[in-house]
Amino acid sequence: MVREPAWYRTGDEPDYRFSLANERTFLAWIRSALALLAGSVAVLQFLPPAALSGMRNLLAGVLAAAGAVLPLAAYRRWSRIQRAMRLGRGLPFTPLLAVLAVGAGVLGVGVALLAVLP
């Protein structure tokens, strides 16, 4: 059995609705991570192996790496929020959203370029 984290019994149990909302947010992050993995495989499968094949592999690699890191970041974020709610503190800031948004935008441009370049 995995040990429960140190924050698990600190503070007060928050309203269960907030706990469930936090949990759903975690699951949404997991889905994002799985989508990145699918995207990584799709890039390799469906993009033409053009002159920029190194670029294609790089793109797929970045997507897969993001898919590997994101679940752990999501768990960390979930537990920090849960802890903050137990202690009645404000929710912690995360750069995760901006990183994902900018990263997805840049990668999208890359995929579009690779798709149209000869």
Binding site: M1, V2, E4, P5, Y8, R9, D12, E13, P14, D15, Y16, R17, S19, L20, A21, E23, R24, F26, L27, A28, I30, R31, A33, L34, A35, L36, L37, A38, S40, V41, A42, L44, Q45, N57, A60, G61, A64, A65, A66, G67, A68, V69, L70, P71, L72, A74, Y75, W78, S79, Q82
Partner: protein
């Protein structure tokens, strides 16, 4: 009655049909919280579950399980096409993840479901499994037959 978090969802002591998730049984923990929050009296509130939080959460678990299943199908296809064992291993792990997600959804939100506990172990397991899939896919891309 105090509800100990982490005692697991199968609590035989739980009175049938209360529909009240765990921590509301803690006296004073959220006294008066329901008043003025808006959702409590709405039709379809699901017997003391304003905003249908439990149902929405159950759907989120099921959705995640479905996404894991679809991703596994994609990885099986890609792994078979490229004869990449790492991708197939990642697909197998994803099938396990889909099973874990669906099994926990049933156990927790099904007809015999228990009170809402904070599922710290399950979430950690989900995160580790998903991260493992990512590592396998990354490994398959970097080292596998498709890398060339």
């Amino acid at each position: 009655v105090t509800v100990r978090p982490g005692t697991g969802p199968d609590d035989p002591q739980r009175p049938e049909g209360t529909g009240r998730p765990g921590n509301s049984e803690r006296p004073g923990s959220s006294a008066g919280d329901d008043a003025g929050r808006g959702g409590a009296g709405l039709p379809g509130g699901g017997g003391g579950d304003p905003g249908l939080q439990g149902e929405r959460t159950a759907l989120a678990w099921g959705r995640t399980s479905a996404v894991a299943l679809f991703t596994a199908a994609l990885l099986i296809r890609a792994g078979a096409d490229t004869a990449d064992g790492a991708l197939l291993a990642a697909a197998a792990l994803l099938l396990v993840l889909a099973g874990v997600l669906w099994g926990y959804r049933r156990r927790r939100f099904g007809p015999a479901g228990g009170p809402f506990t904070v599922p710290v172990r399950q979430l950690r397991l989900v995160a580790v499994l998903a991260a493992g899939c990512g590592l396998l896919v990354l490994g398959g891309l970097l080292l596998g037959p498709a890398a060339g």
